[in-house]
């Protein structure tokens, strides 16, 4: 356990600078985009009034008032970048040990004790990055809404709108606990799949490695298809039972991916 905690700490330390930079850039772009869109909206209204010799109420009627959800398009974009970042990190956290400026994989594989702590420390590091991204995005969304209220003139703002999410953001930032658990579980399952693919490639290398990766990807896609098809077609279960079954399916795959990865790490992996 001590080794697992130390290794997790080590993994986080190694990526911390990059992580902080990405988060700061994301926050800056998102918050600046809110103010910029408010200013752009005001400018559009002023231009309309000037060009058409219209009053403010006419301009607002024509162009429309602004609410916070209208200014969050960059949050969706940044969320997608965050997802891509996590996926890249899930690959990079392994490959940097083989292909980086030093070959840290030697040190990891030579550590005393069992190798599962290497796997779970990396999984934990990616998981923490993923969860913190989601949490920070929540904070940035809330901060963005304060910034919006501060920067917009009252007459330009749609009143009595408490929703801070645009419809596309609601896909990622659901307020429903079950949906949140789904998102986190599915994301973790995909990270486990990526880990398994990397370890297959690193264990078998070259053409054989790529064939194994293709087979494993096919197994995953088939499994996902069968599970989704089953849940979609069955009418015997209640919605809550389907949710529980879905969570069960995700857990089964995660356990399978971890089990295979740990076997590869123990028996097949090479430096």
């Amino acid at each position: 356990m001590k080794q697992y905690i130390q290794l997790t700490n080590e993994e986080i330390k190694r990526s911390f600078k990059l992580y902080v930079i990405v988060v700061l850039v994301m926050a800056a772009i998102e918050l600046v985009s809110v103010v910029a869109q408010v200013m752009l909206h005001e400018q559009n209204i002023k231009n309309f009034m000037e060009n058409n010799r219209a009053t403010l109420s006419e301009a607002l009627q024509q162009i429309g008032k602004l609410d916070y959800a209208d200014t969050t398009s960059f949050f969706v974009f940044m969320t997608l970048i965050g997802i891509v970042f996590v996926v890249i990190y899930a690959f990079q956290i392994w490959y940097r040990d083989w292909l980086g400026e030093t070959k840290y994989i030697y040190r990891l594989l030579m550590l005393p004790g069992r190798r599962y702590s290497i796997f779970f420390s990396k999984l934990t590091a990616v998981f923490l990055v993923m969860i913190s991204f989601i949490g920070l995005q929540w904070c940035f969304l809330k901060a963005g809404s304060y910034l919006f209220d501060w920067s917009i003139q009252a007459e330009y703002q749609k009143s009595s709108n408490t929703n801070i999410f645009s419809s596309s953001l609601e896909e990622f930032y659901t307020t429903n606990l079950t949906n949140m658990i789904f998102i986190i579980l599915i994301s973790t399952m995909i990270v486990c799949l990526i880990f398994l693919l990397v370890l297959l490639e690193r264990s078998h290398r070259k053409v054989k490695g790529l064939i194994r990766v293709a087979i494993e990807t096919t197994i995953f896609v088939s499994y996902a298809f069968v599970c989704i098809y089953f849940l979609d077609q069955t009418h015997l279960l209640l919605s809550s039972e389907k949710d529980a079954l879905f969570i069960g399916f995700v857990f089964v795959y995660m356990i399978y991916a971890c089990w295979r990865s740990l076997r590869l790490l123990k028996w097949k992996i090479s430096v």
């Binding site: 070959k103 994989i105 090479s270």
Partner: protein, 225 residues
């Protein structure tokens, strides 16, 4: 004694090791000799458990126990951001058999500073750091992969000095190197490897008597055939 029995290893369909067997006695420096690509590094990695083998076993004092072996690869293995001090702390954190006194003594001998970032060091100093990380583990068997590769004469002499010092006591060392000439007087035992097989294995003195040649000349004779 460290015993290697029938190691076999294939990379794809190409056999690299074809039933390699030899032993590394305690308190001796055994040198594994072979041309490039003969499988010397693969043998060390296989003994250290870093490369899975197709067949064969490695016994340490009669049992399978890798915790009695330390391996010093020919490349830097600590994360790039670490200083020498960080690397020593890392080892102390993870290894119960880490000997800080040995590490401090070697740091003094090699005149390294704990604040130096490892990746900023010269190749020779990086090799010294790797050796400290190996020698400061209280393990009876030490594997050294090309410890003299690409480093200057003075550093070579400093490193070679370790093999005639008290750091050798209670250790069996298996080393691969092409730089035989500088350390020939320190080698107790030689193992010649060719085409993934052991073709000759002798105590150095025994070999000199048998062939009337130095290790270097015997090496030349074996590989020029």
């Amino acid at each position: 004694m460290l015993e290697v029995h029938g190691l076999q290893k294939k990379y794809g369909k190409k056999p690299v090791l074809q039933g390699v067997s030899f032993s590394v006695p305690m308190d001796q420096l055994t040198c594994l000799i072979g041309l490039n690509g003969e499988g010397k590094s693969t043998i060390l990695k296989a003994i250290a458990g870093l490369v899975p083998v197709n067949a064969g076993t490695v016994l340490v004092d009669g049992e399978i126990n890798r915790n009695k072996i330390a391996f010093v690869p020919d490349i830097q293995t600590m994360p790039g951001y670490m200083t020498v001090g960080d690397a020593l702390t890392y080892m102390a954190d993870y290894y119960s058999d880490w000997n800080q006194e040995t590490a401090n003594e070697l740091m003094r001998i090699f005149q390294l500073l704990s604040t130096d970032k490892i990746t900023d060091l010269s190749k020779g100093n990086q090799a010294k750091v790797s050796l400290i990380l190996g020698f400061a583990l209280d393990r009876p068997y030490l594997l050294l992969d090309e410890p003299f590769a690409g480093i200057d004469l003075f550093t070579k002499e400093q490193i070679a000095g370790l093999f005639s010092s008290h750091f050798m006591e209670g250790r069996g060392i298996l080393m691969t190197t092409h730089e035989i000439q500088e350390i020939e007087h320190l080698i107790d035992r030689v193992v010649f490897l060719q085409d993934g097989r052991i073709i000759d294995e002798h105590e150095t003195e025994e070999m000199r008597e048998l062939y009337g040649k130095s290790v270097q000349d015997r090496m030349r004779e074996v590989y020029q055939r």
